[in-house]
């Protein structure tokens, strides 16, 4: 067994030797070498389950990352393909008895690969535009969303779909287009405070996201209503911005850290104890700001304080006194675990508890409920084939429950499942937890 020599001067903030990566914050040698190769993660990995290939398993990917760190392998196309097929769902991390920080290592290695192989050509330009020029600027995202809204509402979308034009273009644009979420009629603009109903008056701050603001604006409004009805004064800090999760997953760590600092500043202006978020992927990222900025002496402590305040909507509601509901609603609900709630945040029970508090809700479990639906951030755009395989399985399992509604706490899952249900002409609805709670508790 060989272990890489620490590069001179590359000590992590806590003085531990780090691997020989060129990025500013390489993982420690101890973290990189923690895997004992027991293999207990393999059956939990969706891509291993599908391919039965060690190269597409968490243990295999860890071994490759370590080999990169030790200089035994270069970041070749083949190497990168195995990292790219990883959903970053972190089911392996939840299953690992050794406590290997898979998500952390995968994100760092992707950043290292991006540093060694900057995107070039069309992909480079597109990546630059999306990650640096679009997501960090809410007004530009709104502009793009407005254009998409015109496309969707003017009849152009129907025309394009009917023409089959996109199928003739390269790059599977038709599939990407089919996954395009319906842009909201009115965007969500965080501003001011929404006052609590009732006597509790617990101050909370709401994190509105970026895609959520333009494509799930109603869900954001529902979230605020649910919190207000549960007794919260909901602060909506204006200067908040995209969380940076998509950036981290794509290896754009430094941009992600800039976004994190902006959000920390924005929410420091609120005295609320909790920062409530209604998107699993964002929530997992916000809770990791402390780790992202651990090497940044000026920000480490502030980031840790920020992360400790973050609560998923289901966590928040489960911890608040149950509110009065408007009678029984009699509906069979399947709850879809978002990977970044179940595996990254280890939140399993709270959303189920919150749903079961509602009289008339009967909760059913689906087969392989802990397996990723294939949405995984922008995975269904970067790895459409695997995303579709996993999406099809998920929709089959969802349908087999015979539920009326499938509820999830993440926009990506909803987009993926809705697309699958639509393809099959299913009448089942896929609804965000916030929308479901809002409808069930509205007077």
């Amino acid at each position: 067994m060989t272990v890489s020599e620490p590069t001179p001067g590359s000590l992590a903030h806590d003085g531990l030797p780090t691997v020989a990566f060129g990025i500013p914050d390489p993982p420690t040698v101890a973290d990189m070498n923690a895997c004992v190769h027991c293999g207990l993660c393999l059956p939990h990995c969706p891509t291993f389950r599908e391919t039965r290939l060690e190269t597409e398993s968490p243990r295999g990917r860890l071994h490759l990352m370590r080999a990169l760190a030790e200089g035994r392998v270069e970041a070749t196309d083949t190497f990168v393909s195995h990292l790219s097929l990883c959903l970053d769902c972190r089911a392996c991390e939840a299953a690992c008895p050794t406590g290997v920080k898979f998500g952390h290592l995968m994100e760092a290695t992707r950043a290292e690969v991006r540093a060694r192989r900057p995107l070039t050509g069309f992909a480079g330009i597109l990546g630059h535009i999306v990650f640096l020029r679009l997501f960090p600027h809410p007004e530009r995202l709104e502009l793009l969303a407005s254009l998409l809204r015109i496309y969707q509402r003017s009849g152009l979308q129907r025309l394009v779909r009917a023409s089959g034009l996109l199928r003739r273009l390269p790059g599977r644009l038709d599939e990407a287009e089919a996954l395009l979420p319906r842009i909201s009629s009115r965007f969500f603009e965080p501003r001011g405070t929404v006052r609590a109903r009732g006597a509790l008056k617990k101050p909370v701050a709401f994190f509105a996201g970026c895609i959520m603001r333009v494509a799930f604006a109603e869900t954001n409004r529902a979230t605020v209503r649910v919190l207000a009805r549960a007794g919260c004064d909901v602060h909506l800090p204006e200067d908040q911005i995209c969380c940076g999760a998509l950036h981290v997953h794509a290896g754009e760590r430094e941009t992600a850290k800039r976004l994190a600092r902006r959000n920390i500043e924005a929410f420091e202006r609120s005295e609320a104890e909790w920062i409530v978020v209604n998107a699993a992927g964002c929530g997992a990222a916000l809770k990791e700001y402390g780790e992202w900025l651990a090497h940044d002496h000026a920000w480490a402590a502030r980031a840790a304080v920020f992360s400790a305040r973050v609560r998923d909507l289901s966590e928040a509601v489960a911890a608040l006194p149950p509110e009065a509901t408007s009678g029984s609603i009699n509906v069979k609900v399947a709850y879809q675990d978002a990977c970044h709630l179940l595996h990254a945040q280890r939140i399993r029970q709270q959303p189920r508890d919150v749903l079961q508090r509602i009289p008339g809700v009967s909760l059913v479990e689906m087969r392989d409920g802990d397996r990723c639906c294939g949405s995984a951030g922008i995975y269904n755009l970067t790895e459409p084939e695997m995303a579709e395989r996993l999406g099809e399985q998920k929709v089959t399992n969802v349908e087999q429950t015979g539920a009326d509604v499938v509820v999830s706490g993440n926009p990506g899952c909803l987009i993926q499942i809705r697309a699958g249900l639509a393809r099959r002409g299913s009448t089942m609805r896929a609804v965000h937890l916030a929308d479901f709670l809002d409808a069930a508790t509205r007077d």
Partner: protein
């Protein structure tokens, strides 16, 4: 190596001729042959410490394909290593002579279930637990339950004659395999045994189970399925010291009690498991016993009462806890079965001992384990299938510490010797593999080893099936006959093991 840069990489072997790779692709299909360096890298390991790259990985879907691959290997004098979950702890699937790795993970179907006779015909890449999960709705399960059962395959379990906590009452893998499809010699596909009861003739199935891939490649297996026990009671019995826990086991044995499972976890291992699984083990326990009693309701009631009484009457008992719900039971067992990896939290590396000891000597040997650890200045965590005397002391270390490896190896040697001296043996269930070849002469005479080599040669006529495993290295044991085994045998037939 096909990729251009590979020759510069450490550990890379010379690639196979394009002609051979092309022939394998013709047999298996283009996607079922891996020969890029980056892909081969992840086939260089199992859960043991050594590493070695195969020259090519093939992914067959049938016994016929495996036989065709073996014929190519025999003609080209290439080593053949079959691989399942690669969770083995003795280096059984590390291809130390390179050659062709046969990855059986695509062969994971359950081909037939005979409910009335409690049998199933399965492919070797099927994950152990997937079989039990699939037949559970029929009220059946597959009894051998190695701690790796979530990830290890039936084929790998057969190769290693895997045990597990519940093998105490039900026996090891060999007691649950009744028939095989085996590719052996230079590509001969044979089908010893089968579903018919009481197979006459030589027990080739019995010989092949536990042969660690040195007799050939299992491509199908008939296995027994048992009826799920109607009731199971799970206890956790804490003691103030490991010796007290050992005494409790002796008392159970003396009273003629055989629980379905009887496991021991010592204090340092308890701490690691607590961190990984948050079980809520009783604070201050020096060791705990985890005990399953199963069967029909009346029998379970009676036996559980007896086990409970004996456990609590043993000096040093800190009480008794029952798993009240199925979820609690599952959690206790999940922690035990994740013990090995959980101990990875304590130190980056471990060396795991798999010795067995007669149950009457357990308390002594557990004491010896601690004395050995102290003498070598290493930390040892112990879990044990204590009911059948199979102990797993784990020596925890950091391979980066200068001079640590020889100390760890010496401590491990002494642990193994302590087991053998007490009347036990060198391995309970993890196989000999690469790791324990050197201990074989501790328990076998040169004559024993010679007969083993002759039996192996009857199957492994080319010497190419999993070379370098099980039998001791050449020159370490006196030998009278020359039996070619391994790729090097093509050069000189003098070496036999």
């Amino acid at each position: 190596m096909a990729s251009g840069h590979a020759s510069a990489e450490s550990g890379a072997r010379a690639g196979l001729p394009a002609r051979v790779v092309g022939e394998l692709r013709a047999i298996l299909g283009p996607d079922a042959v891996l020969d890029r360096y980056e892909d081969l890298l992840v086939y260089e390991y199992d859960a043991y410490m050594d590493r070695s790259l195969p020259q090519v990985v093939v992914r067959p879907t049938s016994g016929e394909q495996v036989a065709a691959v073996v014929r190519v290997a025999a003609r080209e004098r290439l080593a053949i290593t079959a691989r399942g979950g690669a969770s083995g702890l003795s280096g059984g699937v590390i291809p130390i002579e390179g050659g062709i790795m046969i990855d059986l993970n695509r062969m994971h179907r359950i081909l037939e279930v005979d409910v009335e006779n409690g049998l199933a015909l399965v492919e070797p890449g099927l994950i152990n637990l997937d079989l039990s999960t699939a037949v559970a709705p029929l009220g059946l399960y597959y009894a051998p339950d190695p701690s790796s059962q979530k990830t290890s395959t039936i084929g790998g379990n057969i190769a290693e004659n895997a045990g597990g906590p519940h093998c105490l009452s039900h026996g090891m893998t060999t007691n649950h395999v009744v028939g095989l499809e085996l590719v052996t010699r230079d590509g001969l596909l044979c089908t010893p045994g089968g579903p018919a009861p009481d197979a006459p003739g030589y027990d080739l199935v019995g010989l092949a189970v536990g042969s660690e891939g040195t007799f050939g490649v299992v491509t199908r297996a008939w296995v027994r399925l048992l009826t799920l026990p109607p009731e199971t009671v799970t206890f956790l019995a804490p003691y103030d010291s490991i010796e007290a826990a050992g005494q409790a086991v002796s008392a159970l044995v003396a009273n003629g009690v055989t629980p379905a499972a009887l496991e021991l976890i010592d204090e340092p291992a308890i701490r690691a498991l607590e961190e990984a699984f948050q079980i809520g083990y009783p604070p201050g326990a020096g060791a705990v016993l985890l005990i399953d009693v199963d069967g029909l309701h009346e029998a379970v009631e009676e036996q559980a009462a007896l086990v409970g009484r004996i456990c609590q009457e043993t000096r040093g008992s800190l009480g008794l806890q029952y798993a009240a719900t199925e979820a609690e039971r599952a959690k206790l067992w999940a922690a035990r079965k994740g013990a090995l990896a959980a101990c990875g939290r304590v130190a980056p590396n471990y060396y795991l001992c798999d010795g067995t000891v007669p149950r009457s000597r357990l308390a002594d040997v557990l004491g010896t384990v601690h004395r050995i650890a102290e003498r070598y200045g290493v930390r040892v965590l112990t879990v044990a299938h204590i009911g059948d005397g199979n102990i797993h002391p784990m020596i925890m270390f950091d391979i980066n510490e200068p001079g640590i490896l020889p100390r760890v190896e010496a401590a491990h040697d002494e642990l193994v010797e302590a087991c053998v001296d007490a009347g036990g043996t060198i391995t309970g269930e993890h196989g000999v593999g690469l790791e324990k070849r050197k201990y074989m002469p501790l328990i076998f005479t040169p004559e024993d080893l010679e007969v083993m080599a002759l039996v192996r040669a009857a199957f492994n006529s080319t010497g190419l099936f999993n070379p370098g495993k099980v039998l001791p290295e050449p020159g370490t044991v006196p030998q009278r006959v020359a039996i070619p085994v391994g790729v090097s045998a093509a050069v000189g037939p003098e070496t036999w093991v």
